[in-house]
Subunit: 208 residues, 2 copies
Amino acid sequence: MNIGSYSVEDYMHLVKSFHGNMAPGLIIGGFMVDLAMQEFSEGVLFDAISETQTCLPDAIQLLTPCTTGNGWLRVLNFGRYALCLYDKYSGEGIRVFVDTEKLEAWPDIKTWFLKLKPKNEQDPSALRDQIIEAGASILTMQRVTMEIASFPKKGKGAIAACPACNEAYPAKDGPLCLACQGGSPYRRETQDAKPALKIVSSTQDGNR
Amino acid sequence: MNIGSYSVEDYMHLVKSFHGNMAPGLIIGGFMVDLAMQEFSEGVLFDAISETQTCLPDAIQLLTPCTTGNGWLRVLNFGRYALCLYDKYSGEGIRVFVDTEKLEAWPDIKTWFLKLKPKNEQDPSALRDQIIEAGASILTMQRVTMEIASFPKKGKGAIAACPACNEAYPAKDGPLCLACQGGSPYRRETQDAKPALKIVSSTQDGNR
């Protein structure tokens, strides 16, 4: 059994190195991406949606060309453990979700997925074994069409200098950047000249 | 000159493989992450913020333990090319941004960053050379403190079955899941039994 072009074991190593631990949801996520991708012909450009922000986005990023930073992955946090890959031009797509009706044969997956017991009463090793054995059999696939027009247009447009922070920002955001309009999560911002100088000089020495 | 534990060249290969292309913003992003990380002692657990959704989140994901799926990376899309790494308990952090005042010595970086010319009139190879030569010298670092309490609590809480779609979702979201409350971007959702059966049987054959 493979996940994408990886053996399950190699995929789990990749997950550990990128995500930090071998989260059960990411193993299931691997089977979900794999199932959806099989429905696309070679060369079709697809975008991805994760309907949860937990774990699943990383399976998508590891196994498809879609990442947070290249804009081909969107997280629409509906709290459902589901993903969708869709043709970025036609909007035709494949949605895959964990089907709770198919979990009856897999008591440890069901207990974990529906949080039927506290974590410390669950058996992580039995859970992992069941997930690998179950593979795609706990998933259901749907054909969907995306409302592509409903997504905000990408592209920043013209760049301006914010009169408050002096940083570059998309002019279309208004007379100030969105952070200076009140969005900033920082309690204080203080320019720290010393470390910046330190870095500049070590860069000039070429010894970084 | 290195970016994290990589040579610049190795980092650019990694970028290409994960992000799909050697985006200039991701090379700068590498220097930004590197600069911020040098301020943290070994063993400090930090979370990350990207103040833009373009490119920079991928530099963070490649060079730190913080990813979209593990929840340690947050994108707060202020449209500023800036990031912040902060101690997840104290909120004390380092913010790094591209300092437009430092771009005067680097005309190709300035032209690209401020979009002073259409893309097809820019010189991507000169741009890349200047970015690598400039390194961290175009960046400024600030010490900040995060308003950690202002972030919504993580954790899904109890799980319920949505009476509309029958999928599992966080009960705290309301009587229906957020997608069935009207958030769904799908124009139609049709269960497609055929491919699901196909997959199930090939899984049982063990030949996937």
